[in-house]
């Protein structure tokens, strides 16, 4: 349980109202609102450049907002920044560990900087190393850790002072699917212990796995909020998707399948990809699609059915894909772009 149970406040653990933040010309946040009840998990979901990190930075007192306010356990992140810092833990988008130091040293120094006594710091470091499955590697320099181990160490560091409210900015970015699932398990345990958690992610699947409630942001605005189920309901469940080989037949293909989905099929003219939202009528629609396309004599590739992805959420909510953001190309290219579809499918078959 969090040690630092704050007093004097019975509102939500996190309250964000009309938050604005610009960097010169770039409006990173254009008025976002949300709240998180104590002990709950909020997933802040959005593509590159949506404003997730900016929101986390404001909430963790690293950036002052231009307008609006944010309260953590009732403390204003600007006016009572010092009090907020007593309550929070942050694991930022990159693993903020010192590679020259061992895992144990990293945690002990954090504990000392949180003003724990020497013995208490040592005890807490040992406890966290065990909890995060790092005990064997504890006395090796973190430089030699795998990406997953470094992430776990980073997460452990954010928990040293048993924060009441924890912020994780893309806790699984850069991890392979197996480490990602390991990380999910760790995060679930934390949450079970009662910590209020705000995590950001680019993957609907991840938000769905971990969060009680999801807030979707895009271009600095909240475009949807609700539980994973509610969001997927709005998207309309499963998606049948295929690529038309001959670009000249794209229109014919869309005509052939138009009646099968909920609403118009979405088309990406660039690569001839057609997606049909088919609700819960997955396999039946798949068969019908094959028949219609066959009857119309249209050749396709990669015909299949999948669970909705963040891209679909964005298509459904905004009419544009998740990649169509205004972030500079350099920022985007640091990321693995669509490879996540793999994870989506794997879990979709669960």
């Amino acid at each position: 349980m969090p040690d630092r149970e704050p007093a004097g406040w019975d509102g939500p653990a996190i309250l964000v109202e009309d938050l604005h933040k610009s960097f010169g010309e770039v409006q990173a946040l254009r008025g976002i609102d949300f709240s998180v009840e104590r002990g709950r998990v909020l997933g802040l979901l959005g593509p590159n450049g949506a404003g997730k990190t900016t929101a986390v930075k404001v909430l963790t007192t690293l950036l002052a907002p231009d307008r609006g306010r944010a309260l953590v356990e009732g403390r204003d992140v600007v006016r009572s920044a010092a009090a907020v810092r007593e309550l929070i833990g942050l694991a930022g988008q990159s693993a903020a560990i010192q590679e020259e130091l061992t895992g144990r040293e990293n945690l002990e120094i954090m504990a000392r900087l949180y003003h724990l006594g020497r013995t208490e710091a040592r005890r807490r470091a040992g406890e966290l190393l065990a909890l995060f499955d790092l005990a064997d590697a504890a006395d090796r320099p973190a430089k030699g850790y795998s990406g997953g181990m470094q992430r776990r160490l980073d997460l452990a560091a954010s928990l040293v002072a048993r924060p009441a409210v924890l912020f994780l900015d893309e806790p699984t970015s850069g991890l392979d699917p197996r480490s990602r699932i390991g990380m999910w398990a760790v995060i679930r345990e934390l949450v079970a212990a009662g910590t209020t958690l705000l995590l950001t992610t680019q993957y609907l699947e991840e938000a769905d796995e971990l969060a009680d409630e999801i807030v979707v942001i895009d271009h600095g605005r909240v475009i949807a909020a609700g539980t994973g189920e509610q969001l997927k309901g709005r998207i309309g469940g499963d998606v049948v998707e295929f690529v038309v080989v001959d670009p000249g037949r794209l229109a014919a293909a869309v005509d052939a399948v138009a009646s099968l989905g909920d609403g118009e099929p979405t088309v990406e003219a660039g690569d001839g990809r057609v997606a049909i939202r088919v609700g819960s009528r997955g396999s039946e629609s798949l068969v019908l699609t094959v028949r219609q396309l066959d009857a119309a004599g249209i050749r396709t590739e990669g015909l299949g059915i999948r669970r909705p992805s963040l891209d679909d959420v964005f298509l459904a909510l905004t009419g544009h894909g998740a990649e169509a953001d205004s972030a500079p190309a350099e920022r985007r290219s640091r990321r693995r772009p669509r490879a996540e579809a793999g994870v989506t499918r794997r879990d979709g078959t669960r």
Binding site: L101, I109, Y114, A157
Partner: protein, 271 residues
């Protein structure tokens, strides 16, 4: 989502005494951390020890023969105060690189999200780097003695010379801290973040008498702070007029601190 006007809780901060105590312990913990990191990093060791020693030997034996100076004891005595100041200045490279790296990796963000004294990260860094610099300077001094350098003006002025060299290094460190925090990118800092140090240290009285330079360069070399500090160090080591140079040096160092400490603190806060 909600339109309820919930009033924020106002929290009184801890009393001044406790804040000061925390600032001290935070600074000390970060100092120890930074020193530990330094000892783990072989590249730093090369940079802090091997390179300055190589400079001493190169200038003493390769260039030294060609450089005519009018000081008691010859070129090695002329060289050592200069090389001590130059090494102190270049030691600040470590400051800039370390801060840029920590900025880039989010370490500084984490520190800033913690209930830590705001001044501690920079102060701890400077204290740790001063220790590192002191080690470098003592090693250079020892090598200098081995190759013929002698303090000609007594022990106390000699100690003062070392302290002035150290103070000069710390002042340059604050400039480098600002550069590192402002550029925020380890690679850029590594390749051009400290390029300004080259003209400042080489176009000075560090290695050759200013009178050997072309006239237009002399005007700069004679009046820039590095020369002023090095001349004073030389006077302390070898004898000569002390007072005027002492004031000028102190004024320059204070000026650098007054400008760059606030700049560095500001870029730390805005990180």
């Amino acid at each position: 989502m909600t339109a309820v006007a919930l009033a924020a809780v106002d929290v009184a901060g801890p009393p001044l005494r406790e804040r000061l105590g925390r600032a001290l312990s935070d600074t000390w913990n970060l100092t120890r951390r930074d020193m530990k990191i330094w000892t783990r990093n072989p590249a730093f060791l090369v940079f802090a020890i091997v390179q300055p020693v190589m400079f001493v030997l190169l200038f003493r034996y390769v260039f030294g023969g060609a450089i005519q100076v009018q000081v008691p004891g010859g070129y090695v005595n002329f060289l050592m105060p200069g090389i001590i100041a130059q090494s102190a200045a270049f030691a600040s490279f470590g400051t800039a690189i370390a801060l840029a790296r920590q900025m880039q990796r989010g370490v500084i963000d984490r520190f800033r999200s913690m209930p830590m004294a705001r001044s501690a990260v920079l102060l701890g860094r400077l204290v740790a780097d001063s220790f590192r610099m002191l080690v470098t300077l003592l090693v250079i001094l020892a090598v200098g003695y081995a190759v013929g350098f002698r303090f000609e003006n007594g022990v106390l002025p000699g100690v003062l010379m070392m302290l002035l060299g150290l103070a000069f290094g710390v002042a340059v460190c604050t400039v480098s801290a600002y550069v590192g925090l402002a550029i925020r990118d380890e690679e850029s800092v590594g390749s051009f973040g400290l390029i300004w140090l080259f003209p400042l240290t080489f176009v000075s009285a560090a290695f050759v008498p200013v009178s050997s330079m072309p006239g237009w360069l002399q005007a700069f070399a004679n009046n820039q702070p590095v020369t002023i500090v090095i001349d004073e160090m030389r006077h302390l080591a070898l004898g000569g007029a002390l007072v005027e140079g002492a004031w000028q040096s102190a004024a320059w160092l204070a000026g650098v601190l007054l400008v760059f400490v606030p700049l560095a603190v500001r870029s730390y806060r805005r990180a």
